[in-house]
Symmetry: D2
Subunit: 430 residues, 4 copies
Amino acid sequence: MSGIDMATRPATPCAVDTFLAVRQATEHLARDLTPDDCMVQSMPDASPIKWHLAHTSWFFEQFVLGPAGVAPFDADYATLFNSYYVGAGPRHPRPQRGTLSRPPLDQVLAYRRHVTDAVLNELPRYDAHTLQLVRLGIEHEQQHQELILTDLKHHFFAQPLTPVYRPAPARTGQPPGAWRFIDVAGGLCEVGHAGGAFGFDNEFPRHRVWLEPYAIADRLVTETEYLAFVQDGAYEQPALWLSDGWAAREANGWQAPLYWRQDEGGDWHIFTLGGWRALQPDVPVCHVSHYEADAFARWAGARLPTEAEWEHAASALPAEHQGWHGALLEDESFHPAPVSGGAGLHQVLGNCWQWTASAYLPYPGYRVPDGTVGEYNGKFMSGQMVLKGASCATPRSHARLSYRNFFPPPARWQFTGIRLARDGHVRATA
Amino acid sequence: MSGIDMATRPATPCAVDTFLAVRQATEHLARDLTPDDCMVQSMPDASPIKWHLAHTSWFFEQFVLGPAGVAPFDADYATLFNSYYVGAGPRHPRPQRGTLSRPPLDQVLAYRRHVTDAVLNELPRYDAHTLQLVRLGIEHEQQHQELILTDLKHHFFAQPLTPVYRPAPARTGQPPGAWRFIDVAGGLCEVGHAGGAFGFDNEFPRHRVWLEPYAIADRLVTETEYLAFVQDGAYEQPALWLSDGWAAREANGWQAPLYWRQDEGGDWHIFTLGGWRALQPDVPVCHVSHYEADAFARWAGARLPTEAEWEHAASALPAEHQGWHGALLEDESFHPAPVSGGAGLHQVLGNCWQWTASAYLPYPGYRVPDGTVGEYNGKFMSGQMVLKGASCATPRSHARLSYRNFFPPPARWQFTGIRLARDGHVRATA
Amino acid sequence: MSGIDMATRPATPCAVDTFLAVRQATEHLARDLTPDDCMVQSMPDASPIKWHLAHTSWFFEQFVLGPAGVAPFDADYATLFNSYYVGAGPRHPRPQRGTLSRPPLDQVLAYRRHVTDAVLNELPRYDAHTLQLVRLGIEHEQQHQELILTDLKHHFFAQPLTPVYRPAPARTGQPPGAWRFIDVAGGLCEVGHAGGAFGFDNEFPRHRVWLEPYAIADRLVTETEYLAFVQDGAYEQPALWLSDGWAAREANGWQAPLYWRQDEGGDWHIFTLGGWRALQPDVPVCHVSHYEADAFARWAGARLPTEAEWEHAASALPAEHQGWHGALLEDESFHPAPVSGGAGLHQVLGNCWQWTASAYLPYPGYRVPDGTVGEYNGKFMSGQMVLKGASCATPRSHARLSYRNFFPPPARWQFTGIRLARDGHVRATA
Amino acid sequence: MSGIDMATRPATPCAVDTFLAVRQATEHLARDLTPDDCMVQSMPDASPIKWHLAHTSWFFEQFVLGPAGVAPFDADYATLFNSYYVGAGPRHPRPQRGTLSRPPLDQVLAYRRHVTDAVLNELPRYDAHTLQLVRLGIEHEQQHQELILTDLKHHFFAQPLTPVYRPAPARTGQPPGAWRFIDVAGGLCEVGHAGGAFGFDNEFPRHRVWLEPYAIADRLVTETEYLAFVQDGAYEQPALWLSDGWAAREANGWQAPLYWRQDEGGDWHIFTLGGWRALQPDVPVCHVSHYEADAFARWAGARLPTEAEWEHAASALPAEHQGWHGALLEDESFHPAPVSGGAGLHQVLGNCWQWTASAYLPYPGYRVPDGTVGEYNGKFMSGQMVLKGASCATPRSHARLSYRNFFPPPARWQFTGIRLARDGHVRATA
């Protein structure tokens, strides 16, 4: 989903430790999965786990090892595990990744070891440009760590047996109070990556934007709050929906978020990577499409924030209020968590990706990086919406406020939730 | 495509003359068509001419005559000729408008006369609110005048006999010089409708926007210039295209703009409402999708302007340089025309709708009008791109700089063309 | 749907009167239709009435006038009005016949007059071979007379206003007694056209077939009898259906025959060319697919007859018992009629086409006629089922016992009904 | 594909040895496959190998162990591994069998052992009816042994790496002489299973059929002979094809049989379970659809035999001339073989399934078996064509002359080949 901006940033030193930790984290995610588990492609948008394991290695072969003259582990992999890089040659068609019985899983794991070792061997001697590409490969692999979790969740739910990935204890939460809107004055603001650390090309250049006064909710919408929307008949009221959203609802038979199921007694249950669970009053709703987020906001008399409003509000607040909850490699619950702590903007990073009202388009002055790596982000700037924040499946070191995630408005299999906003009034104290 | 902003604007006095002229102009467009011609729906996005004739009358029945207590001409028409207004009750499905053999054409013309007379009778006594709705109906009908021409063109082209609508004389143009980029300083600008005259809800509120320096082309891209892009193999180079654009190109087999055909000798011909014609060096290319416009811009080392850049540049220039060429009811050639006149921004209104780089989204502070009329524009703010200007098929009195037209990026059957832009450098003289 | 067997039959004298009567009968069917009515193609399998009017003239141009050197009325029509004859050159795609606004209806009627006159002029001088082709053209036109009625019925039903074609008086029938099975001994029988009169190629050659003893119902299944099947929940019981039939039922949402609708009070109504009507206890059910006919038979503890069983049983009985009820040009009710008269096999010709258990395949020794006319029947001998009899929409002079009509098993828009059969026991008296 | 006729046949003693040998043969086929290999469903018509391994065990649980009161190995498997038996309860949707990562392969192998042991334990004590069901389960499992090979072949071909299943030595054959037609007198013949041994319900009852004189080719059409048809441009000549066949050719882009590929030098290669091979002059062509077989026959001035013609001709000849070549568990080449031996009808069983001109319909007097097992064959008697013989992938003990295999006319992934026939003349010596 992204590509480094070569022109404007200095070489990022990339420690051996970081590289190795990220490679191992990927394998850790797959450690309990059988070869059977790693084969399934449950829809064209998702990929088999085996493919993710291989593709994240291909990326280093393509952009680091190949240019450095290292012979490929297997010449066929250039095609098998290329995702969408036209500049890198032919690609096995995406919807047919589930046919890749060969190479078998153990061979893919050998491929991973080969690539890890080959990079490690030379890493101390890489020049600044190559180190940038290694860093891009690390960030790329972290993106796929999140996709491994979301694609596996989709596959396990498509499975009649709906297996449990990581057992999680039951819990019963308490309803929080109503969400509060925090006023923001706006004006001539700056958004985008400030430089000095890694960022994808699409976060650049940092630039000015004019914002009218607005207000933004202090926390995410919860499962129980979303249930009220469902129970109010929102899925039967076209007036609440964008026209495309209403059509998507009808075409897909949506009655609730993805992974929700109603039992015969009328109770709703949610499928998680820890198994089936009851709805919680304090846990953020996730797996909603942009259309559902937008309709919920309309129903609630609010709207979604623009990406600039979100980033400006989040940046203005003290870091300790940003409410991180990112579980990867830490608690492995892989589900959003309730608000913890006091006042301020909560659940900014690490719970749910948050749909914005902004289409995914280039920033003013954006430049596509040269070469094949330029295909990382730029060519997808059409037909998608920006999501801000980071989810419970995002590696913690991968998240930052200037991050621009993007998905088409009907997508629901990511951990996507809702933060509300509304037009504001300039106040003396703002 | 739009709806009046009731809250913020004063009642617009609407002369009997204007109403009558617009109603007659619609009928004038259909004057030479047979009942057979008026039946065809050549694709789900287009409608039969007979349906347009009826729907523009339904609009007055629904929003003006009905609320005033006038009995409907035929109770079935409420469903048959409702387009997409859920608040107005059930709708005959759009893709099946071509099955509407009943009512026959002469009955629809009688319906038109009935509605025209009923409105005329009471027009002098309408209150301000009703007059606003009459004005909205007039603007709505003008939008359908354009659709009558574009839908008919699509149908005649789908016809094996490709009939001529209005015969046009042959011409041979001269190549213009290269396009020139006009520098614009940007800064904190204002865009949107300034009030005081009719505007659709989506043009409001007028608001501030920050623009970095940019440059905008003084004229539209021509047919011959676009041919160079085709002949350079652009339709075979994925690197020039957005990912969705490349997929659309492949799925639809695009090799050139809609209505272009290559003969066995390799020459290209263009189907127009005046019949088949040779490519012209000075006539703006039209009937390209947003994807093609975007790819052309990339190929030319430029980009598309944002809607704010377009409107700001056009607003800053003297009115006599805006290069109107709108043919409706005047010369009836219904095809873009070459640049006429001297320096400045040409072909601003009246040649082609001009794709922008902006997604069609609400302006900051936008409010959907209350009631069913609120469905006019707001619910379509998803998945579409803004087009600025007006085309050779747009009624002249319907065009203005704040107008926001919108279509999905693959749409090609409107008169859609290309104006280039690029990032600028602040200069002392800008 | 068929083609003459040139090799085996003598020239059929074809009177001027017959030719003229059939041409006029076609125009009579369209006499009250507007140009709008004649434009609609309500599904890809159906054609606009205007196309039928033109295509039946094209057939004479292609096979009679053209070979005789008569210049075409309009050179474009060769493509526009060719149906599926690859040997006759390119064809306008079938699913796009609804785009044929040009030529307009009056021009098509002029085309008809031109063809009628041109044939009439030369008819007295045609040789035997040409007379055979004229006769084929007449039979072909009679087939299209039936299609005009079935396609118009489909279009009028797809129309929200469901217009009436020929008003018909209301009636209330009396329930007949139960159907009776007539025993037939079978053995080595002969079926197929015996020669001496016109027949399509697919009815030849007459040949022997071995039949085990069987029994065949004396009349067709009625609307009320079929309602009992519906009310017994048959559309929810997969065990009653062929696997393909169950899938078709599901894919199409079938709950009853085509043209049946249940009102809010639970009563069923049937759309006919005479308008909406209540179900009748004595009127044959029609507009069922082969799958529904087969499922009904299974539910009733019976089966469908094979085509040979049907033809052998019908041929063995006195002509006066064959129960003709063909309405075309006579009473114009265009709906099946109750049994009239006494014992014997009723409703053989002129009510409903009767689905058989036989796939449409070539008879032993069948030969495709030489030349383009050979495409009439032979290439369709795959994936379709044979129907015997003739319907209320079949011209009387067009019906005969050896006729082999054929449609794919899901087709429902023809007048297709059900006659039951079952395996028999050899009895001394049979 | 079939079900036992309970009513008419005596109990078949079923030896422990046979049961065990067939169970082991299935596992033998999968012995070298990885869990990854066993997961893939390369198209909706094919199934993963793991599913075949489980479903053949489910069959014994459903029809033998369950009725005998043996507890299920896992209650979920009743749904997961039911194919199409509505009477046996819900079914996991066929097109989603590729999502069945759980149970993993080793668990399915444990399931197999459990079922094998449970049946073996009780087999000596089963009554005649249960023994019939065991026998049906054995024949059912043999059908799936063939499907394991054909589905795996399809999957390996869909794989970019096109792996080899069982390496086979290269060979170069010699062109045989032209095929010879053997005259058969016909008359009143008998076909169908004669009883006394196992047969599926669809082979019963044996019955009389009248055959006109015909001739049948002494061997199958070879790869080189089929290449001549390809090179003659047959895939571009609609006149050679059934209408549905031409449409299927176009929709699927067929240019040659499935598994044929042309290299850049113009040479054709064939993918087999032994890897890629050159075309052979003496090896029967296979993997053609019914449409291609029919078109080839028309091109060759012949036709396909009816199923009765095929069976009558094969039955009349001495058993030693029936030319068995069935490789399963013997040489494991799994590809058709050349003619071996002298005069007579060759390649009757064990090379290719042979498309006939007969639709798959019930024999006169056919009765569906009672109960859920009745779904085995009867409900598929629609829209399919009969194939006679047996292929190189058919277990030898599973083949017989009365066997009726059936597939839809476009199916190509089975080992389906061509034997020609033509109408005959009664000769004194016949």
